[in-house]
């Protein structure tokens, strides 16, 4: 995980639920590379075709409300989205995205500071997001240490892998 991320901004409004991120008709699709073709089909139709690795999503309140589907953050990870930033998140979406190792930041006030196409600079440890076009800055409370650990490990799969390995390793006593 890099501590400082820079990327082109895509903006979303408030209450974008998981149906608008990946619609119910794609729920039987489990290949993330297939899913990414349909991400935001309802909320932001031009996104899937044009988004590039490192791009940053800036949303309003309650991003990812609705179902528990992990398809949504999986598709975003498959695109290689640099960070997902929002005024606030729905809880399962937030957990899912962090578990997949995607930097996910709750920064109240961030949506108002960005327009589509701006460049954002996110300093994860400093707790700061800057709009490089306007100079606007938004701060956010430090990411809790157990979540930073998860992100540093590259997600929950890697973290549990290490835990299980450590538990299985001869203790050396």
């Amino acid at each position: 995980m890099r501590d400082v991320l820079e990327g082109r901004v895509w903006t979303l409004g408030d209450d974008v639920d998981t149906d608008q991120i990946i619609s119910g008709k794609y729920l039987t699709v489990i290949d993330p590379n297939e899913l990414k073709k349909h991400v935001f089909e309802i909320a932001l139709p031009e996104f899937a075709g044009a988004a590039k690795a490192g791009d940053i999503i800036v949303a309003g309140v309650n991003l990812g409300c609705g179902s528990s589907r992990e398809h949504a953050p999986q598709a975003l990870r498959a695109i290689g989205v640099g960070a997902i930033v929002a005024d606030s998140f729905a809880r399962i979406f937030y957990r899912n995205a962090i578990n997949l190792g995607v930097p996910t930041i709750e920064a109240p006030g961030v949506r108002a500071a960005f327009s589509p196409g701006d460049t954002a600079r996110v300093e994860l440890r400093e707790g700061r997001i800057a709009n490089l076009r306007t100079g606007a800055q938004v701060t956010f409370p430090p990411i809790p240490s157990h979540l930073l650990e998860l992100l540093e490990a590259g997600g929950l799969v890697e973290k549990v892998k290490r835990e299980l390995r450590a538990a299985a390793a001869p203790s050396g006593r």
Partner: protein, 427 residues
Amino acid sequence: MSAAAGGGMTLTEKVLARAGGLERVVPGQIIDGRVDLAMMHEQGAQTVGPFHEMGAAKVWDPDRVVIAIDHWVPASTEGAAVLHRILRQFAKEQGLPHFYDVGNHGICHQILAEHGWVVPGDLAVGTDSHTNMLGAMGAVAAGIGPTEMAAVLALGKLWLKVPPTVRVRVRGRLGKGVYAKDLVLRILGEIKTTGATYKAVEFTGPTIERLSMSERFTLCNMTTEMGAKCGVMAPDATTYAFLEKIAKHPMHPIQPDPDARYERTLEVDVDGMPPMVACPYSPDNVRPLPDVVREHVKVDQVFLGSCTNARIDDLREGAGLMKGRKVADGVRFIVSPASTSIYKQALDEGLIDVFTDAGAVFTNSSCSACFGGNMGILAPGEVCASSSNRNFPGRMGAKDARIYLLSPAATVAAAVRGELADPREFL
């Protein structure tokens, strides 16, 4: 266990303290919670990959894992068939005995409820956002994603941040033609879809104490729409009677401390409350139904189903209104029981006849039209009256289709009239 310092604990705090093996917890604290029950539906298929990637060999406790397929039953697409097969193979390979497969199926939350899989004091997690429903048992039940479920299956635990609790205290009597669904819509209209994000909602008060388990499930189910981590109710005689013969493991009847600290308390008085409706495109866009009825909202489809409202009492109430009436011309009325046992009960009680004689289609028990991915899908511009829990854009099909959320009785009223109607006129 009322702690001396800093006041007592809410129900959620006490259940999480138990799960974390701690005397006391406070909101904001992170705990490692031991899981009493893990539930997966089709999304669980996405758990299998990460489970193996983690290098996990065995599920921590096969007796505490329930798999219930419900979104596409029987499989309606090749993709769904593959998901089912992945789960069957995983269950076989891991020796997971509690698989509710085609023929013994139902909506996952209903399966957990009617088979006594979640009992007071439990920490339960499921790969579905409406796992909250099981909080009605006096448990903390929450939805998680499939990768997180893989970690739960491997380790039998997960980290949780202890949420602050919003208390909802309800008094008064629900009038005739007004139901638990109307009550939860009213509460949602006040709390809003973000009002309880990351929080627990604890329902209490004399009205709640009088509710049946089925009605309690309806309330806790829709705490998901409030953004809540969980929705809970203290267990009482109704809970114990419901679980008496079916509880799958020992109960830990936990009550909130009398001096528990709540983030806030919402007081609700239901005396004189009319039926309610959540209008497009948000479950918190709630208005009194009579106001919306005046606007003559024509419907193309009506759905009586989902984990929120497709239990036997919902079907009985609906059939009571349906009897001797017809579904309006040009309206498709889909009735889908929440489980196979409810299906059988409806058959025995003649309810299926009532609905089909009236011109409704009575389907197999599943999520059915609720989520726009299997059947009962809406075309662009169509309008649906539904007893389910979500009406976001695209939820039941086309992005601009409009969904109105109502009680089961009000869905029948809409089916008969061909437009939204007040069920009290039909009683």
